[in-house]
Structures are given as C-alpha cells and as structure tokens.
C-alpha cells in the first residue's frame, strides 16, 4: 500500500473528536456519508483541507476525547488515507487502524517539514515516509495492524480462530 499525495495541514494541537465530527452527527445508524460533516463547526479547519489530498497533517495529540469511530469514518469518507502527527490519542489510533486510516507518528523536526502542499509518499509495507525535498524517514506502526491492512486480515475472524482457547478460558472460571 502506497499513498502519494500533497499534504493538507491543520497546524493545531489537541484536535479532539468533537472538532472532527460534532456529536449531533452521531445520530446515524450507518457509516455512509459522514465526510460531509467532517470539521462541521470548524470552518477555519475546513478551509485548510480539500478532498483531493489523501494525507492530513495535524498537531500533537490528534483525536483526543471521545471513542466515536465516526471520527475516522468521517476522515476516510472525506478522502483521507493517512493522518500525520507527533502523537495520537489511544482510542482514535485504534479506531483509525481498524478503518485502514494510517496514524503516522513523526518527530517534531519531520513534522515541521510538512508544509501545506508538500508532496509525500507513504509506503506502509516498508514503513517509510518520503517527503519531497526532504529525507525519507521511517515510522512505527503496530505490526499486527499493518498485516491486517496489507493482507486484508479480519480481526474478528482472527479471534474466532482461537475459539477453543476462549471456550476453555470460560470453562476454567
């Protein structure tokens, strides 16, 4: 999986999930079309992004706040395939990976190189981030999540393969 795109940048720290998608849009019973509500109450953020970019760059601690998976659903539906930041909130990171949205952590120096419009190439298999006019760096990613995304492995299917272990665990309690 390779992503080549110009980046869009929202240079703000602690962008919480209420900013990503406000709670009033959580009354849905499916996942479709949430991209239209991405950053709905943040015209300032909305002005910085466009759906021709697949890579969002944002400040530290992106996705803090609630556990709503609607946040990565909205980002993916809008067209993003990766978010680059210096750190992510735990639940958001998990939710993103489960939807094939790559949460890519870089150091502050690399983060500063990513200006609006900078072309980047992300290679998930090699775990490399190539920044045009800059160095190619590597990024960490959970090895299991990487395999799931690259090979289309289903996590629930993976757990169900351990049915006998689960059953005996339940038996022993």
């Amino acid at each position: 999986m390779k992503i080549s795109s110009r980046v869009v940048v929202i240079p703000q720290e602690n962008i919480d999930t209420d900013q990503i998608i406000p709670a009033r849009f959580l009354k849905v019973t499916d996942k479709a079309g949430l991209g239209q509500h991405l950053f709905a109450d943040r015209p300032d953020f909305r002005a910085l992004i466009d759906s021709s970019s697949q890579v969002l760059v944002a400040g530290n601690n992106f996705g803090c706040g609630s556990s709503r998976e609607h946040a990565p659903w909205a980002l993916v539906d809008f067209g993003f395939k990766a978010v680059i930041s210096t750190s992510f909130a735990d639940i958001f990171r998990q939710n993103a990976l489960k939807n094939g949205l790559l949460p890519i952590v870089v150091d502050a120096k690399t983060h500063r190189l990513l200006q609006p419009g900078t072309p980047v190439t992300i290679d998930l298999a090699a775990q490399t981030l190539f920044i045009q006019g800059g160095p190619t760096g590597t990024f960490p990613i959970d090895s299991f999540s990487k395999t799931c995304i690259l090979e289309g492995l289903d996590e629930i299917g993976y757990i169900l393969k351990h049915e006998s272990a689960i059953a005996s665990f339940e038996q022993d309690r």
């Binding site: 602690n14 998990q94 629930i156 665990f169």
Partner: protein, 466 residues
C-alpha cells in the same frame, strides 16, 4: 526495592484475563462485562448480521439508552426523528440478539456509567468495556474498564474478547486532606491541568494515597471518569472496605458463598508493595482550591481565585478568543448564563446532595437557566425521596429525567451560541455543549454557588453548608 514478581493492580487484572498472550499480535483479552448504548452500536449489530454471527454472551452484555434521549419526558413522540430512530434501532437490535435492555421505561435506566455500579454489575478485578470513552469510571471499583470504538464493540459482541496491547502503569498518589469546598472533581481537574490532555497517553492510571482512601465511591468514580481527559485509557482504584460496603446486596453483586469467594479474590487485587510503575506523580491535595476551566480542553484549568493565564501559543490564544476571555482576567465574578449539574462525571446522589446543600433556601439568579439531570432513574427516585428535587425546583432549577443531556447536547438540551455555562460534566471542547457554547467545567458545589450568584462563584463563600 522492586521485584520481578511484584505486580500492580493493572498487571493482576490483565494477567488474569489473557486468553492468548501478546506476541506479534496483540493479546486476546477476555471481557467480563460489555455495556452498550444507542449511539455507538447500530453499525456493530449491522456487522454481526452481515457475518451471520450471534452475541456470544448475552449474560455479560447489558444495554441502556442515555446519550441521545430526551430528559424532559420519557416519550419519544415529537422528538428528533433521527435520535428516536437510533433509540428504536437499539431496542430492535437487543430484541433480535437477546441482549437485556434497560429502556426508557425501565426503573434501571440511566447513564451507562452510573447504572453499571448501581446495579452491582461493576465488580473489582473484572474487565469492562463500552463504546464510550468515560468507561474509565468503573475503575473506581478496581475494574479494568475502558472505552472502545464501534469496530471493537462488534468484536466483543461476537467473541467476548478484545485484541489489546498492554499499557504502561502510571501511579498517581494523592496525599493530604481536602479543605471544605474542595472535591474529587477539583482533584482530577488539577491532575489533568498538571500533565495535560495527552499526559496519560499509553498508560493506565492507578490512583492511590490517603486522599483517595478518604473519598466515597461516588467521588472515586468522578476521579476515574476523567482519566481519559488526560489521555489515559483507564484509571484504577484498589478496592477497600468502602468498595465492598457499596457493592454488598446490589442486584448483580455475588451473593452468599459466591460473595465470600469473591471477597477472597478481591483481597488479592491491590498492587504489591514494590511493584513497578513506569511513571509516578504525587499531588498534595491540602493545597488545592476549587478548580475551574477557562479554555477549550480540560487541561486548561485554574484555581477559582486565580486569573486567566497568558496564552503560550496560538492554540491557547484561539481558545481564549472562543471563550471571550482575556489574559489576566479573574474568572470569579464572570457572568454566566447556564448551569448544568449532571453527566457520568457528577450526576450521582452525593453530587446532587452537595449541590442541594448549597442551593437550599436560595434562588437561581434571574437570567440563569439551571438544569439538574440525575444520572439514573434510581438516583432520581432516591433524590426525590430525600426532597432534593423540591430544593432545586423551589430555587427555580429544572429537574429532569435521567440521561447524558447537556454534557453532549445530542438531545436538544444545549447551551445557546456564545452563552457561558458552568457545567459539572467532563469536556469543555468547542461546541461540546452546543454550537458556540462556552463551557466552564467545575464541581457540583461550584456550579451550584455560581447558579445562585449568576456569576462564577467560589463555593467556599457558602462555607457553613459545605
């Protein structure tokens, strides 16, 4: 002296729930209790249906309605059609999959993190998940409890397990004694203010120390509830006599011989002396004042007598602009429009009692709307039996049915744009309580005092009743 075999409370709960240990893949962790609600589950049930799977343990799964429901009445007629549809979808899904549901007409209905403990479902040493980040609340009982996304809700419904990597151990020691007027809410706001909204990322907190031991269970839940606001997935407090006293006799708590067996297990839960913590922090609560937030995340807080600090960066400056506050300005005395007492942070009986003690014999300031929303139907019944509802109503406050209400503003209970609210909830993010709403997070005491004065007020001014 640290020793390899010494374990923390978190280590012990983790170890006793590993079905398949962590390898290249995350551990498969067994889940004892799965709480579900209307907002983060419809897509998970759709997923189950597509796969042709059942809910594996309908005896370990419980549903309630809380986030998007009306609190003005228990009727959905004339209510927001999308929200009503979501509520009906939960009922249909629970009926189809055989999941017990505490619906709008159930005497057990309430905010998911209020009813779990209340019913005795929340038990020490257990693993608990829910598609809601404030699941950390249940950690007050020494249960490993955290929020999950909807894909994980589907995973747990299907397998009763969660793929999980172990977090780091972070010990937060609260020593000293709280002064009158200073509460658990102020302790947790002070912690978040000190370490920031990402200060606990990758960690599970264990809250310990004499100031934690001195708190009742409701107050301990307030502390654990806001663990997530510092980025920690969970917060834990080791069970003690207060925990057992709270649990004994509750509907789903173990009975008779099972209770004795449980006690023997629970006694072994506290962290071993010398167990290793990756991080530790000590806070002396004796010096704490009532805390209040001034910005747009829960880490932006100050003691109520302090002044709004100078912004350190553009984000801080933007937050102050949103809040219409100036650096150097005192928050005490700042005019307010709304007071909200409720949410999974502060809607339990002791929260309502403490707010009522301040309000009794006073009037809510003209021009201020005060909403009191009990966390559960059981809390509401008990509060009414004690006459708390009359105290609030006579003061001019609205007394509501149980639900999340103005904490998340999904149900029409919202703060109007540009208006200032003093709220006992957990998040002051931009727009959290309604588009353009300006939220100041504080304790029930501070909220009640502010309602009377129509301005941000120090509850210590009402000293005699604290």
């Amino acid at each position: 002296m640290q020793h390899r075999n010494m374990k923390t409370l978190y280590d012990k709960i983790w170890d006793s729930h590993v079905v398949v240990p962590e390898s290249d893949a995350p551990a498969i962790l067994y889940i004892d209790l799965h709480l579900i609600h209307e907002v983060t589950t419809p897509q998970a049930f759709t997923g189950l249906r597509k796969r042709g799977l059942k809910v594996r343990r309908t005896d370990k799964t419980f549903a309630t309605m809380d986030h998007s429901i009306p609190t003005s009445s228990r009727s959905l007629s004339g209510f927001d059609e999308m929200a009503a549809n979501q509520v009906r979808t939960l009922a249909a899904n629970c009926a189809e999959f055989g999941v017990p549901l505490f619906d709008l007409n159930s005497p057990k209905q309430g905010i998911v993190h209020v009813i779990g403990p209340e019913l005795g479902l929340t038990q020490p040493g257990s693993t608990i998940v829910c598609g809601d980040s404030h699941t950390s609340t249940h950690g007050a009982f020494g249960a490993l409890a955290h929020g999950i996304g909807t894909s994980e809700v589907e995973m747990v419904l299907a397998t009763q397990c969660l793929l999980q990597r172990k977090s780091k151990n972070f010990l937060v020691q609260f020593d000293g004694r709280l002064e009158p007027g200073v509460t658990a809410k102020d302790m947790i706001l002070a912690l978040i203010g000190q370490i920031g909204t990402g200060g606990g990322t990758g960690c599970v907190f264990e809250f310990a120390g004499s100031a934690i031991r001195a708190l009742d269970m409701d107050a301990r839940m307030t502390i654990c509830n806001m663990s997530i606001e510092a980025g920690a997935r969970a917060g834990l407090i080791a069970p003690d006599d207060r925990t057992l006293e709270y649990l004994a006799g509750r509907e789903f708590a173990p009975k008779e011989k099972d209770w004795d067996d449980a006690l023997a297990r629970w006694k072994k839960l506290p962290s071993d002396e010398g167990a290793h913590f990756d991080k530790t922090l000590t806070i002396d609560v004796s010096a704490l004042e009532p805390m209040i937030t001034y910005g747009t995340n829960p880490a932006m807080s100050i003691p109520i007598s302090a002044r709004v600090p100078k912004p350190e960066n553009e984000a801080d400056a933007a937050a102050l602009k949103y809040m219409a506050l100036e650096p150097g300005q005192a928050l005490a005395g700042h005019p307010i429009d709304v007071v909200f007492i409720g949410s999974c942070t502060n809607s339990r009986l002791s929260d309502l009692r403490s707010a009522a003690r301040v309000i009794r014999g006073h009037k809510v300031s003209s021009g201020v709307r005060m909403l009191v929303v009990p966390g559960s139907y059981a809390v509401k019944r008990q509060a009414e039996a004690e006459g708390l509802d009359r105290i609030f109503k006579e003061a001019g406050a609205e007394w509501r049915e149980a639900g999340c209400s103005m904490c998340i503003a999904m149900n029409g209970d919202a703060v109007p744009p540009g208006k200032v609210s003093v709220s006992t909830s957990n998040r002051n993010f931009e727009g959290r309580q309604g588009k353009g709403a300006r939220t100041l997070l504080a304790s029930p005491l501070t909220a009640a005092a502010s309602a009377i004065e129509g301005r941000v007020a120090d509850p210590r001014r009402f000293g005699a009743v604290l």
